[in-house]
Amino acid sequence: MAAIRCAQLGMQTAIIERYPTLGGTCLNVGCIPSKALLDSSEHFYNANCHFEAHGIMAEKIKLNWPRMRQRKDDVVVQTCDGIKYLMKKNKIKVISGHASFSDSKTISVSGTNGSKETVNTERVIIATGSKPSSIPGVIIDKKRIITSTEALNLEKVPEKLIVIGGGVIGLELGSVFSRLGSKVQVVEFLDRLISGMDFSLAKEVQRFLKKQGLEFFLNHTVQSAVVEGESVKVVAKNKKDKEVEFSGDYCLVAVGRRPFTDNLGLEKISLTLDDKGRIPVNEHLETAVPGIYAIGDVVAGDMLAHKAEEEGVFVAETIAGQKPHLNYKAIPGVLYTWPEAAGVGFTEDELKAENYNYKTGNFPFKALGRARASMDTDGFAKVLADKDTDEILGIHLVGARAADLIAEAVVALEYRASAEDIARMSHAHPTYAEAIKEAMLDASEKRSIHM
């Protein structure tokens, strides 16, 4: 994204990538392949669990896991080709190999075949992303104790999968295998799932995932994970400090990701990392070395592809002398279980912590004609608004297509719309989007009652 925007702005641009394909985590081993599997597994799950209710009698439904994986791989290849085309179209030079700073204007690239190349440049954007991380006592062997990358390419569907971490990655991949027949147990250190998103979403997500068959063990601190032949034994301590044992044929470690700056030669340009391994940057996303910028997972903030995208465009335009702006509070977070969850702006806990005078509006999907028609009645829309001015402070959705619906909320936040503003805008009927309008009505009508 940064490269394309740079090229659009007339800069001579090169991109250095150590992997054979461009696109980074998101495209190769993240968002795109996981969504491909989520969609496939959801079809399978629906065929097994919901078709009958719709009056479709399907028999002998069988899973062809290699075929499902192949389709996922095809999607990734198509998307990678799309990126290749975009590089060509924008005349961006693609250099393959591992980049390392020699000095602030020189980058040496070592290719996979041992070749060396030197690139001279005026400006550098570091966008090296992140790698899955682990916790003490758990050593990832990539065979039985695996990360999301390996989970996407498992030889066979596990019978029992232990997921360490109840965040977005753990829940999405947990959902995939649960739908495909695995018994999935999620072990989470905190007392809630998807930390960072509104607590109400966490509760609702936990409720429906439990209904779908996932098991949750909150407040459990994992002590160790040990491979024993064809299985993995995970030991955790619960709230009462009692040891609990889990065993499964795979253990997915989804406890977060660490910024990836290995062998980047940062010491050559005297750049030091912060305590979390991130590259410190100023408000222009420029590092301590003038002309060197950093974006995405290697800098502070949520590790989201769309956050990195905004930052990439921001830096490209900044280099070109423009003065773009970036509103981090209006970058949505999304969870692609089914139903989906998405939120943007302040969470209710954040407002409580600030003693903010706010009000809430809620609307359950159950009451939506559209949701009843599709039998997707789990979920709700929740809006948090300023009690005095009615300004929307946060919107949190869980329900069918929440990930797409959140776009409206982002527009509302960027324009500082009030709950009544959105409530007065027409929303097509019957749609899931009506839940947002109704939640806004709920929020603004309460105001009139109080006044």
Binding site: P324, H325, D386, D388, Y415, R416, A417, S418, D421
Partner: protein, 412 residues
């Protein structure tokens, strides 16, 4: 409650103070929109103060008080209800009178509640970027709830560049028209080019020590030269021998002896050029353009004529690129083609001097004790006195004059 403040309008540029003459309404009266509520006296005339909304009047400046332009003379509470009229006008009048203010009140209510919105002054993402890039602050928003949209930023920038116009754009009442006839005005948006031009011209006036020196040229010799070699020149080079080429040549030759005229200020340094990139002012469809003839000092007359012809054609077709207009070190402008006798050209920044050509008129001249009729052009050289001294500028212009009066001197 919404209150409209009525300020003392500007009666004219030279007037900074007025006196409150007499209030035609009493404090607390309900006034109608556009009603004259007060008479303001100035040194020159008496002006009416007009109610900008309907509502209850609150007088803030008393009769006889001296007030400055822009002071708040009174306020009008637009929420106040119009008192019932006790006399017995016809029913239609009642309706007309009571409907109108109430309608207006609603509108002004909406407007004022909009500006009081929590989001007033909140820029849209695109507007925020534009504001940051243009360094615009204090932009008032016209979007819902007073939000700032991109067109508000554009409007703001435009107004700031034309602030002098906006100060005279007050609600000043014109004297009663004595002649009948259309008094409609037409407003159109200034083009970006014109705005930029305006901004630059004002900046030059403010930021340089610009003055002009004049001289006259007896064009007799040039006329002779052209009539003698016009045909040959055209045949040989396939282009007409024009005045611009000869004047450019005269300037480039003279500039060699007066480098300060061809220099420019950069911060606290003076940049001298050992070349002349000659800006030639051309009237183009969208306004004045000044394309540049590069290294004019090393070009032959024919080459200069070719280059000027090429650039002028591109200017007329609006095809000039920024590159073709940047970096001139000296400029020539020819107001003579429009009939100008004498003018003081404005510098083309960051250049330090510009030569103004004018029309050629036959004038009586005293030559060797006799009056002769000669074709004469007045020349004007505007220059930046910060780096060009009077002696240099005057001598430069004299040198140009001498070259033009003895063209063989510069062509050999």
């Amino acid at each position: 409650m919404s209150i409209v403040e009525i300020k003392i309008p500007s009666p004219g540029e030279s007037i900074t103070e007025v006196e409150i003459g007499s209030w035609l309404k009493v404090d607390g009266d309900y006034v109608q929109l556009d009603e004259t509520i007060c008479e303001i006296e100035t040194d020159k005339a008496t002006l009416p103060l007009i109610a900008e909304s309907a509502g209850r009047l609150k007088i803030l400046l008393q009769e006889g008080e001296t007030a400055g332009i822009g002071d708040v003379a009174c306020s009008i509470d637009t929420d106040a209800e119009q008192p019932k009229i006790n006399s017995s006008p016809t029913s239609s009048e009642v309706i007309a009178k009571s409907e109108e203010p109430s309608k207006r009140t609603t509108i002004s209510d909406e407007a004022s509640s909009a500006s009081a919105s929590y989001a007033a002054g909140h820029p849209s993402p695109a507007a925020r970027k534009m504001m940051a890039e243009q360094g615009a602050t204090d932009v008032s928003g016209s979007g819902p709830g007073g939000r700032i949209m991109t067109q508000d930023v554009e409007m703001h920038l435009q107004q700031n560049q034309d602030y002098s116009a906006s100060t005279t754009d007050s609600k000043l009442e014109a004297p009663p028209p004595v002649v009948s006839g259309s008094r409609s005005i037409k407003r159109e948006r200034m083009s970006r080019l014109r705005r930029k031009l305006a901004e630059r011209l004002v900046a030059v006036k403010n930021e340089t020590a610009m003055l002009t020196t004049f001289n006259e040229v007896d064009m007799h010799a040039i006329f002779e030269l052209r009539s003698q070699s016009k045909e040959a020149f055209l045949q040989k080079f396939n282009i007409k021998l024009g005045y611009m080429g000869l004047f450019t040549k005269a300037c480039t030759e003279a500039l060699k002896d007066f480098p300060a005229v061809n220099a420019q200020i950069d911060g606290d340094q003076i940049v001298y050029h050992d070349y002349v990139d000659m800006g030639i002012a051309v009237s183009a469809p969208k306004g004045l353009m000044v394309p540049v003839v590069r290294n004019a000092e090393s070009l032959t007359l024919a080459q200069i004529e070719f280059e000027i012809a090429r650039l002028a054609k591109r200017a007329r077709e609006n095809k000039l690129s920024i590159d073709e207009m940047e970096g001139g070190t000296f400029s020539i402008t020819n107001g003579g083609v429009f009939g100008s006798m004498l003018s003081t050209p404005i510098l083309n920044p960051p250049q330090s001097a510009i030569l103004g050509m004018h029309n050629i008129v036959e004038r009586p001249m005293a030559i060797e004790g006799k009056v002769e009729i000669r074709p004469v052009m007045y020349l004007a050289l505007s220059y930046d006195h910060r780096i060009v001294d009077g002696q240099q500028s005057v001598s430069f212009l004299v040198r140009v004059k001498e070259f033009l009066e003895n063209p063989t001197r510069m062509l050999v």
